[in-house]
Assembly symmetry: C2
Homo-oligomer: 326 residues x 2
Amino acid sequence: MTHDLIRDIFQSSFGNPNLNTFNDFAGVSLPFEAKMKGKICVSTDAHIINPIIFPGGDIGRLAISGTVNDISMSGGIPLYITSSFIIEEGLSFDVLRTIAISMNTAALEAKVQIVAGDTKVVEKGKADKLFISTTGIGWIPEGRQIGGEMAQEGDVIIISGTIGDHGIAVLAARGDLKFSTTIQSDVAPLNHLIQKILEAAPHVHVLRDPTRGGLATSLNEIALQSQVSINLEEDAIPVKPEVQAACEMLGFDPLYVANEGKVIIILPANEADAALQTLHERPLGKNAEKIGVVKKDPAKRVLMQTLIGGTRIVDMLAGEMLPRIC
Amino acid sequence: MTHDLIRDIFQSSFGNPNLNTFNDFAGVSLPFEAKMKGKICVSTDAHIINPIIFPGGDIGRLAISGTVNDISMSGGIPLYITSSFIIEEGLSFDVLRTIAISMNTAALEAKVQIVAGDTKVVEKGKADKLFISTTGIGWIPEGRQIGGEMAQEGDVIIISGTIGDHGIAVLAARGDLKFSTTIQSDVAPLNHLIQKILEAAPHVHVLRDPTRGGLATSLNEIALQSQVSINLEEDAIPVKPEVQAACEMLGFDPLYVANEGKVIIILPANEADAALQTLHERPLGKNAEKIGVVKKDPAKRVLMQTLIGGTRIVDMLAGEMLPRIC
């Protein structure tokens, strides 16, 4: 009965013709162009965020957005999502329904279909309320070559908006802040924004969503993958004053705090203004800034020109990352 | 460091060119025939089995086999697997490595590639050792119409081998049996066996792997989906004597015990012998039997001619299913 009830919650929230709850598979189509001239793109993520509902989002919106965004970082177009749920016995059906509806809303926003799902229930104390694993399936148009290994000397680095919002919002929801804040998570699907950027700036080299480990970790990974160094300008990096204040009180550096609705764009300098204009015209990109450039330097370091005029090495995060932030 | 170590375990166990651990997506190709004349097929499952290692298999082999089999039940050909891991803090790296190697072995057996993965670690007590969610991507050849809603009057029902092995093996591993047994789980990928069956018997109507809830639950689901009744012959249903004995001592009915390497095949009577011969020639089908027929009957019941000569209604499982059996 529990299983039927759970199935009903997902069935009624996700209702679409491809979600067949009676067979254990779904048959789906690919667009003609994808078949003729594309590559299939897949990505998967387990979501274990704590708490499962937080200011600006919940684990359902996070699961859809995170997977849509991972596909989008290839320059690809996400089409289908599968979702498997591990539910701790005792989780209220109201909470589950809220999260299922939120997933569906995010899927509608991204224009992706949830085509297959599975639910398992474990005994109380053997999981933490709800874990969601999502897999995305999409396609990459012919000739698109975007990846962390593609950054080149002279490229400009853009961030699509303010950093650290997600991490601080989740900490606030956990009660880990000793003060109240109005910060909301930025969790959002970025696929449409990214396709618009690629229309305006067709030679983008790298797209990366700075999630766990934040902007600093993502840029260090890219520097290693592309065998380049990166020079940042601290005063160009957008941080909300409330996030900056929370970070200062907690001893965090916003550069290392997770985002769930931001993208790093690395592209040839001559396309940077076109990309920035496209970003500024859209709500999800309105605070975008050019924050640095790619340098040829065998040290593969991320350096930052600081506000006080010095230069700082921005390392990989040495200590523990914030646990269960995504 | 933990994350790096975990990544190394999976990287070294799954090594294949499509598994890119540096970007969060993988680009993969589809065979020419799939693009021209097929449909994409997707399936997903969360695996929460307890214990994670049991006689005849482990959660890794189960995850690959279960997802390969779900794709195969469409008549489709599985190609790619994504896998996301939720690991409880403190799980030994040796156990994790054993399971990763077992996954890779099962993937090689099935000839599928693990193309994308994710690992998340949760605090001790917030998960139970290891959960694995897998998604399969494959394709369904043009014109193939196999599904639980396709059973027709006069069709013959075949089971590919003995029932209940998996469920009893897992109970034994939990120490829930008060006696020792040599029963091994049947967990195995069935994709190659099924393609061979479809060559021999091209008009198969239904394929279904009787996992949770066993043969009885699967047949009841099919009867409902196809709006038919099903008549079984108890003496034709293959059950290992050890499984039968364990079930009798525990008060279980093997009809309701889970399988992870068996398939129900429902097909026109004139193709049944060809399918059976194909099964008998292969290790995974050597104990296959014709166990019943499909009847036109608005009651949508599963009836069984019993060993003692009576007729019994085989209902949907009324009570609790064995928890965490897959």
